[in-house]
Amino acid sequence: MSALVTGYGAVTALGSAPDTWDGILAGRSAARPWDDLADEGFAVTTACRVTHLPAGDPTRRGRALADAALADALALADGALDGVAPSRVGVYLGTTMGESAGYEQATSSFSAAAHHGGALADHVASLVGATGPVRAFGTACAAGNYAIGAAAAAVRAGRVDVAVAGGVEPFSRIAMVGFSRMRAMTPDLCRPFVAGRRGMQLGEGAAFVVIESSARVAARRARARAVVGALGLASDAHHPTSPRPDGSGMASAMVSALSRSSLSPAEVGWVSAHGTGTPQSDAAEAVALRSVFPSGVPVSSIKGAIGHTMGAASAVETVVAVRALEEGLAPPNVNGSSPDPSLELDVVVTPRAADLRWVLNCAYAFGGLDSALVLGRAA
């Protein structure tokens, strides 16, 4: 039994999922400097923040982002939850910082239970009325892949009939301070895979997909948007923040995802790279990609367009990958039209038409986490 995406939704600094897709194809970057960050004394004041939603309560920002992305996903899935027992609906959610403003504005009545990722997952479960498995992944910047991969596995195994899966990351001042003080953050624009790239850029956002079994999709004559293949996971066991320079953990995750999906590297038409724009991570990812795809593969990163949305990043990238499969179009590497030749990658610099059958969505994280998720065109 296959796990099929029937709905998707996203909120990024470029807007909704369609806005994000169109913006990436046009090569737009949502990055801009922010006066409030300058006034507060941040060393880096450029970021990609969502402006098309009401500001609302900052300590519930993640919930607001989730609400908007989830509403779009459920609307597109058009009746996915109809007639399904609540106990057969699962929720799988990833995040890095949770409701970061809850920590930044903590008072004497502080409780982490209100702000960590479990609270976000419970919130989503209550929205969709799910009483099945509710799983929150605290797997940092790879958390979206973890959530969607686990959801698809649960659908394939028949543990749930419908899964709602994705990632949520509201803007985090803690992360702004942390990444900038670690000198991991670019002062201007994020330029993945470009020579002279200076670092990552913080974003915020949320994205969800609705996943159903192929049997259920056929029974209700729903439209499948994509197939979710296997998730590959690996660890670097190397350093709290730096990847292995030889990219071996990243490559292991890619190989695992492909082999568990019964695919050869040659069948992959495009790789949605992690591509943070940091010198170290991009270099390691290039080594990994060259080792897994010795004949080359088209590669691009969307982080130049929307920043690094951390726990939501690979969920947003999954939505973009689904759109790429639907349109037969590999999106460009925004802010990255002059790739670093030393990386020896086939970086997609303008939208590239392609007969995409399978794509690979890669995400890595602090703690040495490596993930890769296979996505395929719906039959």
């Binding site: 910082m97 920590y103 960590h116 996971l233 703690g367």
Partner: protein, 163 residues
């Protein structure tokens, strides 16, 4: 470089590694996995990091403690100590949540052996400037897919780590 508040968490992770090494020496293959459940890892660290950053000014904040604001920092430390190259999964929840995740992944073939840990403080962070706290290894098991699937083949209950 770490602030005091993260040191008990680090010590708890090291205690898990020591126990796991005593149970099984040869950790490391890509089929080995680590599952850590926590509802508090990173919370006190986030509060402390933010309080320190506000005190120094954001442009001068000490970055060393930032990685410990992430819930998966303990898993990273344990995985590195044991050399585990397979999946590293941090679940924000209870031991049962992590065991369920490990059992699913064992059944799905994502791994063949899993170290499952629940790591939480004795007392949750409730102030804006938390002191170093005690951490409790609530439950630690080693599970494998054969035989039988997902069954714990080792178990340890550790007391609170008094640091």
């Amino acid at each position: 470089m770490r602030t005091d508040v993260s040191e008990p968490l680090v010590a708890a992770g090291d205690a898990v590694s020591a126990w796991a090494s005593s149970v099984l020496v040869a950790w490391g293959p890509s089929a080995d996995a680590l599952y850590v459940a926590t509802s508090e890892a990173g919370a006190a660290e986030s509060l402390a990091f933010w309080a320190a950053a506000r005190a120094t000014g954001f442009a001068l904040a000490a970055p060393g403690a930032f990685p410990y604001t992430l819930a998966n920092a303990p898993a990273g430390r344990i995985g590195t100590a044991l050399g585990i190259r397979g999946p590293s999964v941090t679940v924000l929840g209870t031991f049962d949540d992590a065991l369920a995740a490990a059992s699913d992944d064992l059944a799905d073939g994502l791994c063949t052996r899993a170290l499952v840990v629940h790591l939480d403080p004795v007392a949750p962070a409730t102030t804006t400037t938390p002191d170093p706290t005690l951490w409790r290894l609530v439950h630690t098991v080693l599970a494998a897919d054969s035989p039988p699937a997902g069954a714990p083949i080792g178990r340890a209950l550790a007391p609170a780590l008094d640091t």
